[in-house]
Symmetry: C2
Subunit: 462 residues, 2 copies
């Protein structure tokens, strides 16, 4: 049995897939502070126009420029693996396949969009990108991309991570990025918070505010902002994962996929593996498509579909999405990349349409799954990725109970070599499952109660 | 241009190459304390007999068992890359190729032999392996291998690294290994040193003593010791790298290789990429084969070819090798894996035969090279690997000066994601080039002056 199903570079997908073109109900637009749809022009100080055009595109297939492929070849096509050692350990009749996105230089799927965004910005004449990062996966991916394309890169890293994860910062600096702790004295937003709370650990909301401010206030007009998930064009760039997987499954002789699984924080990793299969489902295929999330941040399994801000500080337009409320602060689970209050509009809309079957998991079950994975497949998984592996185990056990030869595909979104403290806590018996803070959640949901609802909003085509 | 030259699993080499069979002068045997050759039986408490047989084998080609290939498929064949982005930055007519060994679960070439050794031990009925580790690359590779094969693994990790590199220890524990700081209270050797110096930072020499003691004193007789470099069978297992590279270069249309480069600490990484090409050189091919080392630990460029102990504590037999003396302590450069006083007998003998052209480099040049690499090829290199990259740059520049289209191959032996503090020092301008401690070196060489010399030793075929 072949363990790794490879694709040659010449067989790499040459178009991204835009699920927006196929959703039964068209995606509703973001709304500005006045409740009216945001026009593409209003986003121009934040993003380059070529990416804004992609954000609002209704085209099903969008060509991947050769210049982007030329950079992606460093690790793409990524290998598809048959998880045969894991299957043996589970004694399951299921055939489990996974895409290994950990082979990228930054160690996760994030560079797929980082490279694409940096390339489009450069094409548009932009010289410098600003972004925020929490645990550091996204910041290091963008630093990597900017380095190869000769763009300057500025990363506002949440202070507590900046202090606790010096290696992630060192990765960014090795790629030439300028990384500062957020809140920083470099922006008005940062100065204001530092004046009020000099010892604040920072937050992703604050870091987003700083990054956007730093982008839009650049006097030369050659700086833009870059976001690592949630938006349509970000999800689009990740679909190369699922498109490659389709070719590779065909090469492996699989005619049908029964289950597709990906973990979802902002939604881009899940979308990357799943959207090409959602297209099949819309066309009648019998597939279970499962985005997974932490029980402590149940955006997909508990939150209403509402308009809400993408950031805590309410700098962004209102997005139509499943949201726990922009003020919700999830318990400190190790999977930092899944601690986001909202969910990408495209993923949210697909849930509303009944195309997806979201699943919530506690972190102990996930670390148990990732430990079995490390001892069978050999690779040490990112804490986020463990939320996909745990769901795979549930599916594989179900297949065994039912005696079915299911084909399960999931995205192994990244390695966990920079995030081993969760494994330490697990091994020492100190890892706990936090309860969902129900009262905080209800309070947070109250705040967004009066925001427009997608079904009643003044929508319009962009 | 294709960036990654892939091999399918079915095309993986099915035999290892044993340079010992082709060296013009046969390798001389290790000597015991009495100056007589060590018999294979004398090594039986330390290593399983199937590996001892491999250690002394005169066969040119040795079959790789299917059970080992079955595990190696997780990351082998590893991709061969054309470093075209690096070439562009250097504006060189040279064509530069590199094997990416960083794709293994442990992140380096070390698992090639870790898996093989664990497999042979298991075949021999062994239940538990003991080893030492310095910075942690080898310990984590063996932990990984034992985990997949269901062997127990005990790692004695030099205390200063144990304290400074908790992530490497966590990797080992995630793979189920038991890792303790050395010196430990678990062995007599450790107890003795702790009684004398409770606050000692430890050393590789002490850790080797503890690991061997733990292996040979196991009352059940089901424990053996495992070494990550230096020995013939360890180098043998790494030759799969160079054998794959040959097939891949042929696939890339290259008819001839002009330069082969690998960094060498104990010698296994260099041997892995180079030995199949040394065979060509013995048969008349015009190839420069360059093992690289730190100027501060100039085993190949300054040390005599002598018999010496493999460890500081003189527990091991005497090996015929280039050695700075078993008491030599190199300055604290970041490339911990290259801070070894000796060099593998097979590599040493090839140097004596005039088959290799060793090169010594200072660490500042190496970090400068690795930084250019990160910003062009994208991958962040291990500090050891940077010693190969710097040599590649020298060769590429020379090719430019001479206007020659040289083909350069080197082994990108591992990623540096767990070892970023050297990059930090480099970026902050704090990285220094240590002088070679000449006086200490002369004193260390004096100690081995009276040990037998390979040319005059009572040698004999094993």
């Amino acid at each position: 049995m072949t363990v790794k199903i490879l694709l040659e570079e010449k067989d790499i997908p040459r178009q991204w897939y835009n699920l927006g073109a196929d959703l039964p109900t068209p995606l509703q637009p973001p709304l500005g502070p006045d409740g009216n749809p945001v026009s593409p022009e209003m986003l121009a100080p934040v993003f380059p126009m070529n990416l804004i055009e992609q954000e609002v595109s209704a085209e099903r297939w969008i060509d991947i420029p050769e210049g982007i492929l030329d950079i992606l070849y460093r690790w793409r096509p990524s290998p598809l693996y048959r998880a045969k050692y894991f299957e043996e350990a589970l004694d399951t009749p299921a055939r489990i396949y996974y895409k290994n996105e950990g082979v990228s230089p930054a160690g996760s799927h994030k560079p797929n969009t980082a490279v694409s965004q940096a390339w489009y910005n450069k094409e548009f004449g932009i010289k410098r990108l600003c972004t925020e990062t929490g645990a550091g996966q996204w910041g290091s991916a963008l630093a990597f991309a900017c380095s190869l394309l000769g763009l300057e890169c500025k990363v506002f890293m949440v202070r507590i991570s900046f202090d606790q994860k010096p290696f992630r910062r060192l990765m960014m600096e090795t790629w030439g990025a300028n990384c500062v702790a957020s809140p920083s004295p470099e922006t008005k937003a940062g100065q204001k918070i530092l004046a009020e709370k000099p010892d604040t650990p920072g937050s992703l909301g604050i870091a987003i505010s700083e990054a956007i401010e730093a982008a839009v206030t650049d006097p030369g007009g050659k700086t833009r902002y870059s976001l690592g998930s949630v938006l349509n064009h970000v999800l689009l760039h990740q679909t190369i994962i699922g498109l490659e997987a389709k070719k590779q499954l065909e090469k492996a002789g699989e005619k049908q996929v029964d289950v597709v699984i990906g973990c979802a924080g902002g939604g881009s990793n899940f979308a990357g593996i799943a959207f090409p299969f959602v297209a099949d489902k819309i066309n009648g295929a019998d597939i279970s498509i499962i985005p997974t999330e932490p029980t402590t941040c149940p955006t997909m399994t508990r939150a209403p579909f509402s308009y809400d801000h993408g950031d805590t500080a309410r700098m962004t337009p209102l997005l139509p999405m499943h949201s726990l409320g922009h003020g919700f602060v999830p318990p400190p689970i190790h999977a930092g990349g899944l601690r986001y209050h909202g969910m990408a509009p495209l993923v949210s809309q697909a849930i509303v349409e009944g195309l997806l079957e979201p699943m919530a998991l506690h972190q102990l079950e996930c670390y148990e799954a990732a430990s079995l994975w490390a001892r069978t497949e050999g690779f040490i998984s990112a804490p986020e990725t463990s939320h996909a592996i745990a769901a795979v185990i549930r599916q594989a056990k179900q297949a065994k109970e039912e005696g079915k030869e299911k084909v399960i595909l999931f995205n192994w979104s990244g390695h966990g070599l920079m995030d081993l403290t969760g494994y330490q806590a697990y091994q020492e018996g100190k890892l706990i499952d936090y309860p969902l803070p129900e009262e905080e959640l209800q309070n947070s949901l109250k705040v967004i109660e009066n925001l427009p609802k997608p079904s009643t909003a003044k929508t319009g085509k962009w």
